[in-house]
């Protein structure tokens, strides 16, 4: 508390710690847990308890909530990558610097709506996993800061299956693009799901947040990919993989439309780290227990779904192919140069060929086409000869 406590100048009328009720005290502790400043074990206990809901919060409590949100969210974003001296696109041109150097203040101001405070009151008053009073909000009324907050909430509680199952049904989480871009597998409980509209992520404050989260997203996806090899249930792996594929593919399509390939950097970096050596599909599927579904089609679908992340390399390769055709006088020249530099630094061509090879290994006629391809490559090499002669 003392570490990020507000400076005295902020509360000139108070001489010491502010007085809050038991309910408000719990609410503040829960909020501090969401922004990463309170132990998970104690916070989960609070989330699983219920307390009588007061008619309203005191001014002190509201100010403390505002202060914690303002400092906690900003501190989180800065720590996750905002501090890095990096390059991102702005109006089609690469701009270098830390996030506060690259983006003007009015485009990186977090504005929270009532939904956040209402959620905090609900989460404090109710047993979140056995709620009596339902709470939800409309996704399209949430601000960028609200979406960041709800993403932080899901990020904090996702290790607890009961809390996760309860919260992921709510629109604030179910249709939150930040949640979908980070942990789509946690958001689906069956095969029927709907990915949100990712287009707003590439504009204004949301884009600034996404810039800050690039390194975090890379780490998160790497962890998720490495854990896939421990998933034993065929159905679970299929659902997770399917959700990941849809989320990443929709996200990349939106990034392509918005001409912000820099915000999809984490997909390239995740693949580059994963495929730094040749892998086999067993890396993703070795944990599957038993012989799986009776039908070969279902088994194949699960295995294909498990490789959702390497499968995104085809989109990134298309971007790279497009970038190679952009000339000096074209509008996208600087943006595509930046993408090409990133691609080359991470050995994109090699990563694409490794991704393709591992995907091909799963295909039932993959052996045939692989052999055919290698034979074809030999023939193409010979074909180069006559072309060379003509030159």
């Amino acid at each position: 508390m003392t570490r990020i406590a507000a400076p005295p100048a902020r509360f000139p009328d108070s001489d010491g710690p502010r007085q809050v009720s038991k309910f408000e005290f719990n609410l503040l502790r829960i909020l501090r847990f969401f922004v990463g400043h309170f132990p998970a074990e104690q916070a989960v206990r609070l989330l699983r308890e219920s307390l009588p809901r007061p008619e309203c919060l005191s001014l002190s409590a509201v100010e403390l909530v505002q202060d914690t949100l303002a400092k906690g969210c900003i501190l989180f974003l800065v720590r996750q990558g905002g501090w890095r001296n990096d390059r991102y696109l702005r109006n089609g041109h690469p701009i270098a610097g830390r996030v506060w150097d690259r983006i003007p203040l009015n485009e990186r101001t977090l504005v929270f709506s009532r939904a956040v405070l209402e959620f905090l009151i609900w989460a404090t008053a109710e047993k979140v996993h056995e709620t009596k009073t339902p709470w939800d909000t409309t996704a399209n009324q949430l601000t960028a800061a609200d979406e960041l907050f709800f993403w932080l909430v899901l990020n904090s509680i996702r290790f607890d299956p009961d809390l996760l199952a309860s919260l992921r049904k709510k629109e604030a989480f179910r249709l939150n693009p930040f949640c979908w871009v980070c942990f789509p597998g946690d958001l689906v409980g069956n095969d029927n799901f709907e990915a949100p509209n990712f287009t707003p992520l590439f504009e204004g404050v949301r884009a600034a947040i996404l810039e800050c989260l690039q390194c975090y997203l890379t780490e998160r996806w790497l962890q998720s990919e490495r854990k896939k090899g421990q998933v034993g249930e065929w159905k679970k792996l299929r659902q997770q993989g399917h959700a990941e594929f849809v989320a990443l593919r929709t996200f990349l399509e939106a990034a392509g439309r918005a001409k912000r390939p820099d915000l999809a950097r984490f997909v390239l970096r995740t693949n580059a780290t994963l495929l730094s050596t040749d892998l086999t599909p067993a890396f993703w599927t070795s944990g599957l227990q038993g012989s799986g579904p009776l039908r070969l089609a279902d088994r194949l679908e699960t295995q294909r779904a498990a490789l959702a992340v390497p499968r995104q390399m085809e989109v990134l390769e298309a971007w790279q192919n497009h970038a190679r055709t952009v000339g000096y006088f074209d509008d996208d020249y600087q943006a595509t140069q930046m993408w090409k530099a990133e691609w080359e630094a991470l050995h994109g061509d090699l990563i694409v060929s490794r991704a393709r090879a591992v995907i091909q290994m799963l295909e039932p006629l993959g052996g045939a086409t692989l052999r055919a391809q290698s034979a074809d490559r030999g023939e193409t090499a010979h074909d180069d000869h006559p072309e060379g002669s003509t030159g």
């Binding site: 009776l294 039908r295 070969l296 089609a297 194949l300 091909q360 295909e363 039932p364 006629l365 993959g366 052996g367 045939a368 086409t369 052999r371 055919a372 391809q373 034979a375 074809d376 030999g378 023939e379 193409t380 010979h382 074909d383 000869h385 006559p386 072309e387 002669s389 003509t390």
Partner: protein
């Protein structure tokens, strides 16, 4: 005084069970010629191998219960195994009742009948699983056989495409093929 009685109920049913399994994959055809020309070459090669062209442009070959379908334009291959059997199953249960306590004969008989229906459904489910296993096994076996053939098709299409490409570039002076190494050398005079 109670009198015990035993009733035996039998149920039998005959059902037509169907099972299928299908996989779809993509042929990796190099774009040596324009896609329409590559599709034509693939179509011709597949026809030579017993595939029949359908009104929708797809090529289909049936090997018993297995169907191989190729879309020459997209290179998509689907292999489907279907099997069906008429299966008869009979189940039987005995139950004991007493005429002064417990359920009357009619309700006892009804209860046993319900149990028999469940037994019958379970037996048919087992049969369905067996049939599904059979279809999947057939598909897996066929895929192993199909793999070299598809490989040959892709190779042949690529060879033909290269030859056509060479002809478009100039006068073909010499073509030499080595079946063992799979190499093809074309000398062209422009």
């Amino acid at each position: 005084m109670s009198r015990a009685y035993r009733i035996t109920v039998k149920e039998s049913d005959t059902r037509r069970l169907k099972a299928d399994d299908e996989i779809c994959t993509q042929l990796e055809i190099l774009e040596i010629l324009p896609p329409e020309d590559m599709a034509t070459l693939l179509r011709e090669e597949l026809k030579k191998r017993g595939f029949e062209e359908q009104p929708d442009g797809n090529l289909i070959r049936k090997d018993g219960e297995l169907t191989v379908k190729v879309d020459p334009c997209s290179g998509e291959v689907s292999v489907k195994a279907e099997t069906e059997e008429t299966v008869s199953q009979e189940v039987r249960r005995d139950a004991t009742g007493f005429n002064d306590v417990g359920p009357s004969e009619r309700s006892l008989r009804q209860r046993v009948k319900d149990q028999l229906k469940a037994d019958l459904d379970k037996k048919f489910e087992q049969e369905q699983n067996r049939l599904q296993g059979k279809a999947t096994e057939a598909l897996e076996k066929h895929l192993q056989e199909l793999q070299p053939e598809i490989s040959e098709v892709v190779n042949q299409v690529t060879r033909d495409a290269l030859k056509q490409k060479a002809q478009q570039m100039g006068t073909v002076k010499e073509i030499s093929e080595d079946a063992e190494s799979g190499s093809l050398t074309i000398k062209v005079e422009v």
